[in-house]
Symmetry: C2
Subunit: 147 residues, 2 copies
DNA sequence: TCTTGACTTAAACTTGACTTTAAGTATTAA
DNA sequence: TTAATACTTAAAGTCAAGTTTAAGTCAAGA
C-alpha cells in the first residue's frame, strides 16, 4: 500500500510543498519512486516523517536532522553517534518540560489572581489576607507585586 | 533602586535593543523616565518583563501581549477579559505539556533502542525477544518498524 | 484521450521577532 | 569636562522554515 504526495500530505496534515522541501533537503532519501518518478509513500515513510516532526519539536534544526539521516544510511558504524544524539535530545526535552511546568505555575497563579480580583470586583485586593492553595502561595512569595 | 537599560539588559539576559523594541511596541508603558528621558527600570518592571517572557513562551505573539497590557491600563473594567486570556493561555500550556511528554516518550524509546542495538553491536535486533521496560513496550506497540 | 495530479528548477515571498546600522543628540556620574 | 552610556528615528538586515509562483513537462487512472 503506497500513497501519492497529496494523499500523504492529507493523511499527515503536512503541506505537499513541505514534503518536497524536506525531500530536497535530504530528509526523505528512503521514499521510493515509481518508474515515472512519482513519490510512493509507505507506512515506514510515515514513521520516518513522524520522527522528523518529533526531532523538530525538540528544537533540532533541519540540517541536524539530515545529519542523523545520513548517519542512519551509513549503517552500524554510526550507532554511537546516533545514540549520543538522542541522549542530547533527551536532555533538551527534559529542560523543555521543566520550563513548561514553570510557565504553567505562573499561569495558574494568574488565573487564581484574576478569579480572586473578580470576586472582589476590583484589583485592590490585599492577597496576603486571602486563603489560597499552597502552590499559589509558593509562587506568590517570589513576586514583588501581585501583578 | 532603579537601573539603566544596559544594567537591566545584563540582569535579565536580554539585549538592550530588545527592550527598546518592546517599549516601541507598547509592551513597557509603565517604565518611568528621568527628566532627561532616560529609562529607569525598577523591580516591578522586571516582573512585568518576566511576565512578558512567560506569555511569549506560551506562544503568544507580541501584539496580543500588548492587548493585555492595554487592558491592564484600562483598569477594572477589563478584569474578565484578562482572566479569560489567562485561561486560554492555561489551555495552551497544558497542550504544550502533553506534547512535550509525548516527545519525551519517543526520545526515551530511541535511547533504549540505540542502547540495545549497541549492545548487540548492530541494528538487526529482533526487539520482540528482548526484555524492556513497560513504557518502552507500550510505545513500541504503536510503531510499524523499530526504526 | 482527457483530466487530475504529479514532477522539475529557481527564485521570490512570507512570518515574527528581533538585531544592526546610521547618524546625530542628550544625559549623567566621576 | 569628559567618557560612557543613553536617547531618537528609520530603515535595512537576519534567521529558519517554510510557502508561493512560474512555467513547462510527465504520469496514470477512467
Amino acid at each position: 500500500m503506497t500513497y501519492l504526495i497529496g494523499q500523504t500530505a492529507e493523511k499527515l496534515g503536512i503541506n505537499p510543498s513541505t514534503l518536497r522541501y524536506y525531500d530536497k533537503e535530504g530528509l526523505l532519501p528512503f521514499v521510493q519512486r515509481s518508474e515515472g518518478g512519482i513519490r510512493q509513500f509507505c507506512d515506514t515513510d510515515f514513521e520516518w516523517i513522524r520522527l522528523i516532526e518529533c526531532l523538530k519539536s525538540t528544537g533540532m534544526p533541519i540540517k541536524d536532522i539530515k545529519q542523523f539521516i545520513d548517519w542512519y544510511i551509513q549503517g552500524d558504524s554510526t550507532l554511537e553517534k546516533r545514540r549520543d544524539m538522542f541522549y542530547e535530545r533527551k536532555t533538551a526535552v527534559q529542560k523543555q518540560l521543566e520550563e513548561v511546568k514553570k510557565t504553567l505555575e505562573i499561569i495558574n497563579y494568574k488565573c487564581w489572581y484574576y478569579d480572586t480580583a473578580i470576586i472582589a470586583k476590583n484589583e485592590n485586593i490585599r492577597t496576603e489576607d486571602i486563603e489560597m492553595p499552597e502552590e499559589i502561595r509558593q509562587y506568590k512569595k517570589r513576586l514583588v507585586t501581585g501583578i
